[in-house]
Subunit: 508 residues, 2 copies
């Protein structure tokens, strides 16, 4: 412990020590129950007599800040005695003013943060049926099976998994992924696969490898807000390509490429968040052809091919990419555990080498222990078994959600029919705003995610996202009933207001 | 599997399927022993008759690319039959040219990579005594104790640790660190501590939060090369402050701050890599005072206070920082396991909030499972026990190294005496170059890290780093004997050359 002592001060040394410790306790830097250093130890550190420290401790006990337990030492009191007020700090520090020091990127992020603070918080109480979280259901996690494979790999190769590791990733996992991805039509050699900390780090590495401030980035609309945020934080200007019936509209995409020469195009073709739609094969071919012709990379945010709701999974763009224009982002977050932060990038060697250098710079490498455990989990076919189980369950929830919507919603409400992913996008009757509706919905015991943040350049106020992945099957219908009631009530109020407004408009 | 079939082609469908699979096997995308999809399954995926796929498989087996195991299916052959040459690919893809697309940051990194490829690789064979790796010794890892705490936390709170988690970190670990850091004089509330993926991610988050292209960054010289690389990759220009006897020279620091107003100053005050030196208290005070007066943040790359080689650990700058100018980077990589990628940042709330936003953008959060396991390990006092054990062992190795150097090295060789860290810096006799010496050293069975990469703006060719942390105590003297022999031999050659050069210089 570092207690600055001033021998020239009128305040005696024991009192200085006491005052410092009182402040640490008061500011909860020393928390209740913490054992104070032994008197001999602290005396040695501070270069004072042991008696000086003992005096300070005695005074702390007398004033109720600490308790002495004979033979055990002195401990911070559970609750300071009433009236115990700490001595004021010795000197007010000259504080550095950080606000003038932030980079452009930090300023962009800061502005984003301000906006997100304005969002209505969603209560996690059990009384609210929440369609808001876009994560897999932790109630379905194969936690114990994972714990067992973790034990196995640590027993077998612990020290090397806990040492520094090459940036590219755990070789057996890269080899496994190479074969695994073939199932979905993606051909990638192990050395064309880079292990990263989830898809979020994938966005970040791609952005820093391709984007300079002022560059244009083409992006599907609506889209995943965190992807927008990453590209913006690197100084990119976003240009949107709206989704049509069959995917991002190829003719808009082509015009945009002709006019603005963006650095890349970002999309989620196989399980679009928030709509759950997928790109049709013909649209996929057109997008790829246009991108290759204009030499613009496509960043494909993929979704595990084992989770789909039609007859067969949509082929990833990467599987039909003949021009080598696609960088594919994969993740174990949806199909296994989000908390492991484990994902991967697939791309041509020329770009993958640069992404790997960026990865090394960012955090050296992803935990090899986690990579090895997931590899073992996959190799033992535990992932396949788990995927089958959750795919069935999520399909059931999706189906219950669609049934409930059809049954409960008023006629002016529409929604997308998800072919993949964890959510759908619902559009409210005209004149309604999902942000405003959320507060009313929470009061009726249901929550969702307003759609506006998924839109690049404003819009989407009438839309909201309903995630079905982490709502128990038995609560879906009840949740939608409450949401329908909320919408009907809001619509009634709206009509009432419209009647009044019409009534007060002077006839001219 | 995605096999593009063309019904208009003269090549029959079974032959097209066969050719595609041959290519996948030849390119090792399908590795030996891999089971091919069941004929019915693949036929469904491709929209052909089952017989078509069966014909293709039969032909693959006949040509030696695959083997059929009755009742089990068809598998890729271990070794293709000699003479088995795959069909050529259907069409050559129009490849995207990535080279024109890289960001400025990627270009800087790419140039760095080119340089590092020129470095002599160090063989990991047991015949070479390697002082090159600056990591803790994995032979000392408490692997099994860690495995047990990992089991405990997964059993107790697995699903929540494997789900998405708040960006700031696992609250009990932040609280533990708050108390732990007090031991070393650092006062930080849990909310002033941000969990990151090792100190490397710390550099990265700090750089992106504070640095814009063209900014100046002041940096100690010599210093840790990866820190330089991060700042450079964000477009910073580095200005060096040389180490003197007691730390970075404060008067040079002050002049530099007056003239260039750098965005930050980076240093490793308590266990300087490569020298192992520590900043003296008086120099620390001067550096802090100058930084506060000029409003320049100090980025302190810390080293665990439990590992030191004098009477008491050096106080971190953060412990005596009255002006709130220091951001402290801590890590479990040196004291526990590097491979966990677990570290933390300590700083005033104003900057910490921005760093947390950057962390969330970079990869959402650090694995909560790993954080919880390390917390449990610390809370059970297993870290304290481990730290005592390794501190003793590293102190012993340091002492053996210093003894060997004193005993073996010729008089013109000098070195630093480490007060902390894992290494020292040795300076060769004038005229010698450590980069050239390395190849000769490896031939004699000893390796080290050349010092030049630790220098910001050239220089350091005569220096080399010797790490003692991962060399078994029993091999240190032998390693230094070999190094001394190498140096003596090189010096003899050098003198011979000088004599010749002197001899051929015409007398004028």
């Amino acid at each position: 412990m570092n207690i600055p002592l001033d021998r020239d001060k009128p305040m005696a040394l024991p009192r200085q020590i006491q005052a410092h410790l009182e402040r640490l306790i008061h500011e909860r830097l020393l928390t209740p129950g913490t054992k104070l250093p032994a008197t001999r130890e602290l005396a040695r550190q501070l270069g004072v007599n042991r008696g000086t420290v003992a005096l300070a401790y005695e005074e702390l006990v007398a004033t109720g800040w600490a308790r002495a337990h004979v033979g055990q030492g002195t401990f911070v009191a559970e609750r300071p005695a009433s009236g115990a007020v700490p001595a004021p700090p010795v000197a007010t520090p000259v504080a550095l003013d950080w606000s003038g020091l932030f980079s452009r990127s930090a300023q962009i992020l800061g502005a984003d943060d301000e906006r997100s603070r304005a969002v209505t918080p969603i209560p996690s109480s059990g009384a609210v049926v929440s369609f808001a979280g876009g994560m897999p259901d932790s109630g379905l996690f194969p936690t114990d099976a994972f714990r067992r494979v973790l034990n196995q790999v640590i027993r077998e190769e612990g020290p090397s998994l806990l040492q520094y590791y090459p940036a590219g990733g755990y070789p057996p996992l890269r080899r496994y992924l190479s074969t695994y991805l073939l199932r979905f039509g993606i051909e990638a050699r192990p050395e064309e696969i880079l292990i990263v900390n989830g898809s979020q780090q994938g966005f970040d590495l791609i952005a820093r490898t391709l984007i300079d401030p002022g560059d244009f980035v083409a992006i599907e609309q609506p889209t995943y807000p965190r992807a927008m945020q990453v590209f913006r934080s690197f100084g990119a200007q976003l240009l949107s390509v709206p989704w049509g019936e069959t995917g991002p509209r190829a003719e808009v995409f082509e015009r945009l490429l002709e006019r603005h020469a963006p650095k890349l195009f970002y999309c989620q073709p196989s399980a679009h968040n928030p709509t759950g739609l997928a790109v049709a094969p013909e649209t996929a071919r057109r997008l790829l052809e246009v991108a290759a012709r204009h030499q613009v990379p496509i960043i494909e945010d993929g979704f595990d091919g084992s989770l789909f709701y039609g007859d067969s999974p949509t082929l990833p763009l990467k599987a039909v990419d003949r021009g080598g224009v696609v960088v594919y982002i994969g993740t174990f977050s949806k199909i296994l555990f989000p908390g492991l932060r484990l994902g991967w990038l697939v791309g041509p060697p020329q770009i993958l080498e640069r992404l790997q250098a960026a990865k090394q710079l960012a955090d050296l490498h992803t935990s090899a222990m986690i990579q090895a455990a997931v590899h073992r989990f996959c190799e033992r076919k535990l992932l396949d078994r788990h995927a089958t189980r959750v795919a069935t369950e999520y399909a059931r929830r999706r189906s219950l959600l669609l049934t409930a919507l059809r049954r409960r919603m008023p006629a002016e409400v529409t929604w997308t029919e998800p072919q993949g992913g964890f959510s759908l996008l619902l559009t409210l009757p005209s004149g309604m705003d999902a942000g405003t509706l959320l507060q009313q919905a929470i009061e009726r015991g249901v929550a969702f995610t307003p759609g506006a943040p998924f839109f690049v350049d404003g819009g989407g106020q009438r839309t909201l996202r309903l995630s079905f992945s982490s709502v128990a099957a038995g609560r879906i219908d009840e949740g939608i009933r409450r949401l329908a009631e909320t919408i009907k009530a809001a619509r009634a109020r709206l009509r009432g207001r419209e009647r009044i407004e019409r009534a007060v408009v002077p006839v001219v």
